[in-house]
Structure formats: structure tokens, C-alpha cells
């Protein structure tokens, strides 16, 4: 099985000595038995049989790979990395250390703002941490996966329940199998194949025909009756794949990400004018 990669290589994240831009799929030969890859703008995290390895920009974090175990479930964005460790706890990488995040089972009784997905995690986690220290009998929640973007973090426990900012998200009882996080919105897929969206809808990324923001996960009505098998989210758009092999897409199309022609005059990317040769 061969591993190929293309894209930004200015920090040596794909191949250490290669050109800064790989515009054609290039075989990656210096890593063996790669079974998982996480990509950010300036760095890439690889999982091999021998352990974890990070390439590209390291942000002065030189002990990261030693402090990660093989069985961890990782989620990574450009500025943030989170994981589910061997104890089923959610940990966040900060200043060269893994910090454990605290969650509580019940939504707080006062009106905590669960707002759009773009929210500050740190403050809320400290509040949750101090509050959970008070409840001595809180049983440990076991998490199965975590999903991050630069400004948001969603954790999924073993019962398929979603948490954000230390507390459960309010929505119907369906079990969630996977979550996708965009720049300003979130998507979730239930075990029944229903897609939920929430957050900012300014670019149509919620898929509900409106442009407003919704604060709690709601099913995408126009997909009612269609069983979705997998979902993916870009910065401001969404894709849902049905069990019969149809792909549904919605959201922003400013550079043609939905597969429709984008506006003729708009440059798709600043990078497009750069002449290159691999």
C-alpha cells in the first residue's frame, strides 16, 4: 500500500527536503506502515506501527509524540490538538502539556450560553473544572471521541452524547456516531442516519434554507427520509453521503467547493497565480 501526498510543504511537513509546494501526488517514502494521518495548515501528524510522529511546524513542542499513546483518538486543527486518552478522558495539548478537560453530566440550571460553535473553550473549562471539584460523587464520564477546530471542541461519550464547554448539548435523545466541526458551525450524524446541524448559518451551511444562527442541534429537514451513512464538513460547507451513494452538499460556494461553477471573476485562491514545477 503506497502513501501519496500533495500540497503545502513549506515547513517540510510532507517530505523534509522537498520543494515548498507539491502540486502533484508525491509518494511519501520515509514513513513506514502509516495507518492514520491528521492534517493542519503547517504540520501533519502521522500514526505508524512504531508510534506517533509530527512533521512540519512544531511550535516549540518537542515532547509531544513521547506523551501520546498508541491507542489514543486524536483530533487536530492548526492551533489546537485534543485526544481521548487510555482512561477515556478528554485531554487538550497546551504549552507542552496535556491538560485534562472536565465535563459534567447535567446541563447547568442557570442559562449557560451554549451559543454558536465558535466559542472560547478555556474559560468555560476552568468554570467546569472548579464546579466539578465541588461534586465529590461525580462519576467519571468515559468519552469515545473528540472533534476540534481552532475555536471549538465537541466531545462524544460512549453513549453517543455530545458535550461542549463542559456540559451536554441539548438535543433529542438520539445517539451520535460522528461529529464534524466547521469554522462557524457543527454537523453531527446519528446512528439512525439523521444529520443535525447547528451554529452560524450565514453562508447556508446549516442546510435549512435560512441564513440565521441556531443554538441547538436540529435535523436537516430536507434530508428527512434519506439515510445518511457519512458526513464531512469544510470551513463553511457540508457534504452528506447517503446509503444509496448520493452526495448532498450545501453551504458556501465562493470558490466552487460545492461543485457548481463559482463566480467567473473571482480568483479561487491567491496561490493560483504562483507558477510552479514539481
Amino acid at each position: 500500500m503506497a502513501l501519496v501526498a500533495c500540497g503545502l510543504n513549506a515547513n517540510g511537513q510532507i517530505t523534509p527536503a522537498g520543494p515548498p509546494l507539491l502540486c502533484c501526488p508525491t509518494p511519501v517514502r520515509d514513513k513506514k506502515d502509516v495507518c492514520e494521518v491528521h492534517i493542519a495548515c503547517s504540520h501533519i501528524l502521522w500514526k505508524t506501527n512504531a508510534g506517533w510522529q509530527i512533521t512540519g511546524y512544531r511550535n516549540l513542542d518537542y515532547s509531544l509524540e513521547e506523551e501520546m499513546a498508541q491507542g489514543w483518538k486524536i483530533s487536530m486543527s492548526e492551533m489546537r490538538m485534543a485526544a481521548i486518552n487510555d482512561d477515556g478522558a478528554v485531554v487538550l495539548r497546551e504549552k507542552g502539556q496535556w491538560r485534562k478537560l472536565f465535563f459534567q453530566r447535567d446541563t447547568a440550571m442557570d442559562s449557560r450560553n451554549l451559543g454558536p460553535s465558535v466559542q472560547q473553550v478555556e474559560d468555560q473549562d476552568r468554570i467546569a473544572e472548579s464546579e466539578s471539584n465541588v461534586h465529590h460523587t461525580t462519576s467519571q464520564i468515559k468519552f469515545s471521541s473528540v472533534f476540534v477546530e481552532d475555536n471549538s471542541l465537541i466531545a462524544l461519550d460512549e453513549d453517543g452524547k455530545m458535550y461542549s464547554s463542559g456540559v451536554p448539548l441539548p438535543y433529542g435523545g438520539s445517539r451520535i456516531s460522528v461529529v464534524e466541526v466547521g469554522k462557524e458551525h457543527c454537523m453531527a450524524l446519528t446512528t439512525d442516519g439523521v444529520v443535525l446541524t447547528w451554529g452560524s448559518g450565514m453562508r447556508g451551511q446549516l442546510g435549512n434554507g435560512e441564513l440565521c444562527q441556531i443554538d441547538r442541534p436540529e435535523p436537516v429537514e430536507s434530508l428527512q427520509g434519506i439515510t445518511i451513512s457519512s458526513i464531512a464538513s469544510g470551513g463553511w460547507h457540508c457534504v452528506a453521503l447517503s446509503t444509496s451513494g448520493d452526495a448532498y452538499m450545501w453551504g458556501w460556494n465562493e470558490s466552487g467547493q460545492l461543485g457548481f461553477p463559482a463566480k467567473a471573476d473571482q480568483e479561487a485562491s491567491i496561490l493560483g497565480t504562483f507558477s510552479h514545477r514539481c
Binding site: P20, C41, N59, V118, E184
Partner: protein, 569 residues
């Protein structure tokens, strides 16, 4: 890329070696005998001179920024390397690891870039023909000062080398080092990769060419920052990200200028390719201006106006002689309830009778001396700013669901939407744009009326340029407004604030300052509107209108029109 002079090097990949070789073995262009080629040669010579000027503008501004950063950090206590009481063990171990890591990084991944930069620095020093000028700090420059700074200052040691080294202010141009950040850019917000990339890019400004890696990194930085600028509401975007976009754009423009300088002296590219490069430079400047943060003495303005003429040559534009003719009123409008007018009212009368009492008035004679009244014609605008990128609103009204915004060059906009609109095509309006900030030369053609200084804050200027038939739906704004008509004619209708219940304001909070009614639409559709009292008028060139805060106004252009509005509070 073609490097015919260096075919002997055999390098196909054209990485750093190829470009370095080209700069060393490029020969001056042989004299041309052909007349056409002479004219072309003159144009290209002029372009090369503009490139030299553009590079100087950018380098000087970056050097000033570096001075500013050093000045502000000299007042702070150096933090790194000190043993502070209360430091936790994790901090200490982190610094230890960081030190180990930096040493291995200097040997490993970053070694390639560092080495190349130092090589180029030594090669190009002899080629630097332009005499260094006096720096802003008043010290005369010397080439030796620059060399010693390179030996001492460019290495990325930890600690305080550059900040506290005595005699540092003697060298010009002041260069960015990798531990410096432009004023206002916060590392905690932008993260390590952005911070390192922008610092490294700015440290290259001042060298005739940059490593290929830098151009790719610059574009990646701008792409990533562009995502941040598009996250959430524009007014909530932290200024730090907009500053990164500005300085990143300045770095990209510098790379493009240096590339153009190389290719002009190399003589390999076609003339048309050089014009395209000029257009690319103007586009990069405008992108930085439109999405970046306002920065004092922004070099992007000056560079964009330097290359506007050559950039325009890259696009084939049809000649439209009708544009030179004076603009007459083309569409009809009937004035039912004329608004009283006043000719140059004294400032105190204006404040007491109109501003304080929320009474609109048509103002005559207040802009009689504006050069703009004589100069602002379509051909003049094209020559001054034809290649500049402007935001255009497409669609009949901003309340329509099909309304959208797009970016066009001014040349494209004037041809496609003003002078030669296609039949049945939607209207395009260059509306509510700070064109006069983007193109400061236009500001020189007018004077801000004294009345606009009667508030507490400085007035903001907006330009409104469009064809006949543009409509601004009935709406109100929170600030005082003087609308000056410079070119063409507009029909305007005004309703007082107390008429609001009859005006069908939008229920949606985002549009609550806008009426749902079509003012000149079928009267039966909007019965309440017919009971409302209003004033109306036609604004001709040289005439102005004062609109009080929260006063409803509706505007329709009756010809090609160019107006300037002054908002103040």
C-alpha cells in the same frame, strides 16, 4: 520559468540555485533598432523605474515598522533568559526543551532557508547600486553597518541580542528579525506558525530576491488568514488578524516586485507578461487594502497607484468615446413636494436650524470650488484607477434575495455595468465604498465641507458610482449625512422619522432600518405609504443634500452618477 542565460546549469527544477545563477549572469538588453520595439522598450524602462520606486516604498515602510517595534520593546524588561522567582518547573523544562529543539532545528529543517538567505545577502550586497538614504532616525547609513548587523543580528539566538545591543540604531535599513512582530500583532491570538512566518517574511524585505519557499509560505499565510477574516461577523474579527493580512500582503507585494525586477532585467518574458505581473501587483495591493487593517503610511496605496497604468495594459478594453461626453439627465422624475434649499448657510445657522432640529435641506454652492466637479469624468477615473479592484453590488436592491457582491476592476465595472450594460443584465452599483481611502488621489480633488466638522467625530467619506437606474431602497442611517452630487443626476425622496409607522419597516432586525416598500412601485401595494408626508428633489452636479440622523431617504439615479457622502456624528 525560462532561464535561457543559465541553460548550462542544467537545473530543471529551477529552485533557489537557478534563480541565484540568473541574477549573477543576466546581461543588459541589447539596443533595439526596430521602432516599435523602441516604444515598447521605453514602456518597459518606465516600468523598471516604477518597480525600483515601489521596492523603495515598501522597504522604507517595513524599516520604519521595525524601528517602531524596537522602540516599543526597549521600554520593556527582557523576559527570556532571566531566572524569575515563582517560575514553575514546567516553564523551566519547557525552556530547556525549547533550547534543545531550537539547536536541532537550526541544524535541520530551517538550516536550508537560513543558509540560502545568508548566501544571497553576501552576493547581492555588491550589486546594490542604489545609494542608501538617510533613515528616519537621522543617521547617515553605511554599508559596513549592514554587514555587521547581518553577522550579529540574523541568527536566531534566544535572549535579547537585538533589543539591547548598543549602536543598533545606526544601521539603515532597519530589518525585521525573527523575534519581532509588527505593532498590534499578538502571538497568543495568531499562534506560532503565523507569527514565525510573518516575521521571517518581513525579514526578507530589503533583499533583491527571496527564497522560493518564502513565496509559497506567504501565500499559505494569506490563505489561512483569509479564513480567519471570513469567520464570524466582519466587525468582530480581531484587528490582529487584519494586521497579519496587511503585513502579509506587503510581504507578497515585495516578492512580486522583486520577481518583476528580476524578469525585467533578464529580458526573457514577453511585454504582455510584464503587464500581467503589474496587474497582479495591483490586485495583491488591493486585496491587502480591502481586507487588511488600516495601517499608517500604508505602502499598498502608493504601490497600487504606481502600477495602475501598466496594469491596465494587460487587459484589452474597448474604446468607448461616449464616455468623454458630458452627462445629461436621461431618466424622468417628477418633484411633488420640493425641499427648501439654502445657499452656503453660515455654520451656526446650519447647526441651529438644521442639525439640532433634524431638518433636511438642499445645499447650494458649498462645493463650487471642488476640482472634482471639473475633473471627475469616466475617462479620468479609468486613467487614475482603472486596474484597481472595487466591490460592486449586483442586483436591483439590497433587500432582494438575488442581490450579491462581487469584486471587479474599475475598468471592468465601468464597461460592463455603467457605459455598456448588457440588455436584461442586473444593475451593478459601486455603492458605499471607501473608494477615497483606497485611492487617496481622489481625495485631493475635493474638500470636506466645514459643516461636516460640526459633530464630535471625524467625518467618514463614501463614494457612490453607478449607471442610471440604481435604486437605494427607503432607509435611514444613524449619522448626519451630506450627500454631494459630483457627476450626473439623482432623484431623492425624504420622510421624517415620525412617519415610520406608515413606511413598512422590515421586521428582521438586520434590516429594521430599511423599508419593505417600493417607493415608486404600484401604489395599491403599499396603501399606508400613500398617506405618509414627504419631500423630494432632483440633485444636479454641484448640489448637495443634508440628511439628519434617522431621516428616511430613497435614491434613484437618473443618469450615470458619481456622488460622495460624508457621515458624521
Amino acid at each position: 520559468m525560462n532561464f535561457p542565460d543559465c541553460a548550462s546549469t542544467g537545473s530543471i527544477g529551477c529552485g533557489q540555485e537557478g534563480r541565484k545563477a540568473e541574477s549573477m549572469c543576466s546581461l543588459p538588453k541589447p539596443a533595439n533598432i526596430d521602432n516599435n520595439r523602441d516604444a515598447e522598450g521605453e514602456i518597459l524602462q518606465k516600468l523598471a523605474e516604477l518597480v525600483r520606486q515601489g521596492l523603495e516604498v515598501v522597504r522604507r515602510r517595513v524599516s520604519e515598522e521595525a524601528e517602531e517595534v524596537l522602540r516599543s520593546t526597549k521600554t520593556e524588561e527582557p523576559v527570556v533568559g532571566e531566572n524569575r522567582a515563582g517560575e514553575t518547573t514546567t516553564q523551566a523544562t519547557l525552556q530547556e526543551r525549547a533550547k534543545r529543539g531550537r539547536e536541532s532545528e537550526a541544524r535541520g529543517e530551517r538550516g536550508l532557508i537560513k543558509r540560502t538567505r545568508e548566501e544571497e545577502a553576501h552576493t547581492d550586497e555588491e550589486d546594490e547600486a542604489k545609494p542608501l538614504v538617510l533613515s528616519s532616525s537621522g543617521h547617515a547609513s553605511s554599508p559596513t553597518g549592514r554587514r555587521s548587523r547581518e553577522e550579529n543580528g540574523f541568527k536566531d539566538d534566544e535572549g535579547t541580542t537585538d533589543r539591547t545591543r548598543p549602536g543598533a540604531s545606526n544601521s539603515y535599513p532597519r530589518h525585521f528579525t525573527e523575534d519581532m512582530l509588527p505593532v498590534g500583532v499578538e502571538e497568543e491570538v495568531v499562534g506560532g506558525w503565523v507569527r514565525g512566518t510573518i516575521a521571517r517574511l518581513l525579514s526578507f524585505v530589503g533583499f533583491p530576491s527571496t527564497p522560493r519557499e518564502a513565496a509559497v509560505a506567504a501565500n499559505a499565510l494569506l490563505d489561512y488568514t483569509w479564513q480567519k477574516l471570513n469567520t464570524g461577523h466582519w466587525q468582530d474579527v480581531p484587528i490582529t488578524w487584519r494586521l497579519v493580512f496587511t503585513w502579509g500582503s506587503i510581504a507578497v507585494v515585495h516578492i512580486l516586485l522583486a520577481d518583476l525586477q528580476l524578469s525585467l532585467s533578464g529580458g526573457a518574458n514577453t511585454t504582455q507578461a510584464h503587464f500581467s505581473s503589474a496587474a497582479e501587483i495591483v490586485r495583491a495591493c488591493d486585496r491587502g487594502l480591502l481586507m487588511g487593517a488600516p495601517v499608517g503610511d500604508n505602502p499598498l496605496h502608493k504601490v497600487a497607484s504606481l502600477f495602475n497604468s501598466h496594469a491596465r495594459l494587460s487587459a484589452t478594453m474597448a474604446d468607448l468615446p461616449a464616455e468623454a461626453l458630458p452627462v445629461a439627465q436621461q431618466d424622468e422624475a417628477t418633484v411633488h413636494f420640493p425641499l427648501p434649499s439654502g445657499r452656503c448657510p453660515p455654520l451656526d445657522r446650519f447647526l441651529l436650524n438644521y442639525m439640532n432640529k433634524s431638518v433636511p435641506v438642499k445645499l447650494l454652492g458649498i462645493v463650487d470650488h471642488w476640482p472634482a466637479l471639473k475633473m471627475w469624468r469616466i475617462p479620468y477615473l479609468r486613467e487614475l484607477a482603472g486596474a484597481r479592484t472595487v466591490p460592486v453590488e449586483v442586483g436591483a436592491r439590497y433587500t432582494d434575495s438575488t442581490w450579491s457582491q462581487t469584486l471587479l476592476t474599475l475598468d471592468e465595472y465601468l464597461t460592463r455595468y455603467v457605459s455598456q450594460p448588457a440588455a436584461g443584465a442586473p444593475t451593478g452599483y459601486l455603492a458605499q465604498h471607501q473608494l477615497l481611502d483606497q485611492i487617496p488621489e481622489l481625495r485631493d480633488d475635493l474638500l470636506v465641507p466645514d459643516y461636516c466638522h460640526l459633530g464630535e467625530e471625524e467625518p467618514r467619506l463614501h463614494a457612490w458610482l453607478g449607471p442610471r437606474g440604481t435604486v437605494s431602497p427607503l432607509h435611514h442611517d444613524p449619522d448626519h449625512n451630506i450627500l454631494v452630487q459630483v457627476l450626473g443626476y439623482k432623484y431623492i425622496r425624504l420622510y421624517a422619522e415620525d412617519q415610520s409607522p406608515l413606511l413598512y419597516p422590515h421586521p428582521d432586525p438586520l434590516l429594521s432600518n430599511t423599508s419593505q416598500a417600493e417607493i415608486e412601485g404600484p401604489q395599491a401595494d403599499w396603501p399606508l405609504l400613500q398617506q405618509a408626508q414627504y419631500h423630494d428633489l432632483i440633485l444636479a452636479p454641484g448640489e448637495s443634500l443634508y440628511i439628519p440622523p434617522r431621516y428616511w431617504h430613497y435614491v434613484r439615479s437618473l443618469s450615470t452618477s458619481f456622488s460622495v457622502s460624508f457621515w458624521w456624528r
